[in-house]
Symmetry: C2
Subunit: 342 residues, 2 copies
């Protein structure tokens, strides 16, 4: 743990009897520096254990090489998978990734956004907290540096977005349930102020109507989409005078919760009751019965969002204008046991 001083370009310069500026040029492969000097510099760097100091470079160039990634929480496999892909893509692009979690809390979201700005991140990729009702903080940062929102986006914010086509997702889910003969379909929903959940609800409503089924108020239950929520809601639904015969959950977690309740009540899935989730979380293919769901291509989302910031940055540094882009992925229905009857 010795705090021996780091070697700098000055050390290399002294060592070789040249100036720091020559060394700097050698490293950046400046055209007007002799091959001989370059070689000498590289060797000296190796020998002295030189590591460039990104803080200094960043300060001088006005570029930190940092991208901030803000998500509700890393423990959710959906976000974990996306971050994994983002980190890989950004890292290949030469960026370092700094990560923060809002824990679905608005204040934390603001604080971390500020922290990112202080750290001089060049761009931000974010998925908004459930508690967030206002767009101001994102608008402010989006005006200063490239901002890409994914999955949990805000409707009236004109920034680049990477989302799945949630409307189509709902349509596919409901169409599927109906094709399997389910008629009284309830929706365990997310909060409508967050884009994807609003759209999923809308898709659910319109598709249910399309099939001529009646649209019941009590069949749409917004929640925080946890396993516990799924359990509570399913219990409540079963107590209704006319309970549903299927649920479409906006996330796989409450879908699983609902499933456990059905099992407890010895209601056979899929024979008597259908269950479909959203996201294709790992557990959906592991549980019994396996849960039908919508694949969201999380890896893709990560890669696209990462590319999107990097593109914006590239444009910016070339002095070009950058127009916010929408990347919309089509979700894919994955039929598993929980709906596959007949």
């Amino acid at each position: 743990m010795s705090v021996r001083k780091k070697t700098t370009i000055v050390d290399i310069a002294d060592y070789l009897g040249i100036t720091p500026s020559a060394v700097s040029k050698a490293f950046s492969d400046h055209p007007r520096i002799s091959a001989k000097t370059k070689k000498a510099v590289f060797e000296a760097a190796e020998k002295l254990g030189y590591q460039p100091n990104y803080l200094a470079t960043g300060l001088r160039k006005g570029r930190s090489g940092l991208i901030g990634v803000l998500v509700p929480g890393i423990h959710l496999s959906f976000f974990a998978t996306i971050i994994k892909a983002m980190e890989e893509t950004l890292s290949e692009g030469g960026y370092n990734v700094i990560i923060a979690q809002s824990q679905d809390n608005y204040e934390k979201e603001c604080a971390h956004l500020e922290g990112f700005m202080k750290a001089q991140v060049e761009g931000i990729i974010a998925s908004v907290a459930l508690d967030t009702q206002t767009t101001e903080h994102y608008r402010k940062t989006g005006m200063r540096i490239p901002l890409v929102l994914f999955d949990r986006t805000l409707r009236d914010l004109e920034v680049s977005k990477v989302v799945v086509d949630d409307y189509t997702g709902s349509v596919k889910a409901i169409d599927h349930l109906v094709s399997k003969g389910y008629r009284r379909i309830a929706h365990i929903a997310g909060y409508a102020h967050i884009e994807p959940f609003r759209v999923r609800i809308q898709g659910y409503q319109e598709t249910v109507k399309k099939h001529g089924l009646d649209l019941r108020e009590e069949f749409i239950i917004p929640c925080r989409l946890t396993v516990a929520d799924g359990i509570d809601i399913m219990n409540d639904l079963l107590k209704l005078p006319e309970p549903p015969d299927a649920i479409y959950a906006a996330s796989d977690l409450p879908a699983y919760g609902a499933l456990t309740v059905l099992k407890e009540h010895k209601i056979r899935v899929p024979e008597e009751f259908g269950v479909i989730g959203f996201s294709n979380e790992v557990h959906t293919s592991m549980v019994t019965p396996t849960i039908s769901t919508m694949e969201q291509h999380s890896e893709n989302i990560g890669v696209l969002a990462a590319r999107s910031v990097m593109e914006q940055l590239a444009h910016l540094y070339e002095g070009k204008e950058y127009i916010p882009q929408q990347n919309i992925l089509t979700p894919k229905l994955i039929v598993r046991e929980s709906t596959n009857r007949e």
Copy 2:
């Protein structure tokens, strides 16, 4: 996306007709600066939308405020949970977290370690890649800045570590299986050059011997601990002239893989065959039958590792020596259906 210039302390100084140094002192709550000036500075900062530039501060103070976290992959819920806790703890301590993934690849591990040094991280928390057979790169970084290894540690590296008592974990797992009457226990193992896996193997061997059961070479199968590995290995085991009647897997992923094979073969779990995993991954409590496992307290690991770097850093900046610490957590047996017979 306007690139309007950022406001600096100079802007604030000019605005107030004072000097940048006074502004700087006001922000750092310097004792010898008037309350009036401080107030004026804060108001001006607010008004002008000032954000301190951490690159500049970092360069000047020789502290970046960055901690590097290097893990094999974020998608594994074990690591995701740990990172979640780390980020929260470090963020409370005023640090930003930069994340990188080795993808269990030695070269990537080295590259990211170097990247961290260039980014001037103040400390590093890491869990080593499966492919890593040498300690040199970690030793080198550990000599320059505080390094904390967790879970996947290296034996002959004297740095701070946060691990679970893997030996005890094995003992508890085997004792439990034996108490349930299983006698021919196989071990789906990790690679022995990584500490926790070596120790788990050792614990397995000695406990099996302790119970007077015979220790078969073909009952210890090292692998990369994926679901697929679990499937392949279970298939192979069933082909043995004398197959095992239980498996103890060093991870919950292959444990699940093995389980699917057993189900396919209509071998009843736990009646005819016992399965126990390690880590208490989410899926273990969701699948049928639920899988017995060892709780590793991943959140705790994250918090402890985070605190450990911060402590080392604190000591360092106070000029004190810091002695590497070992944090050893005791794993807890979680009995579920997959072993709970009789």
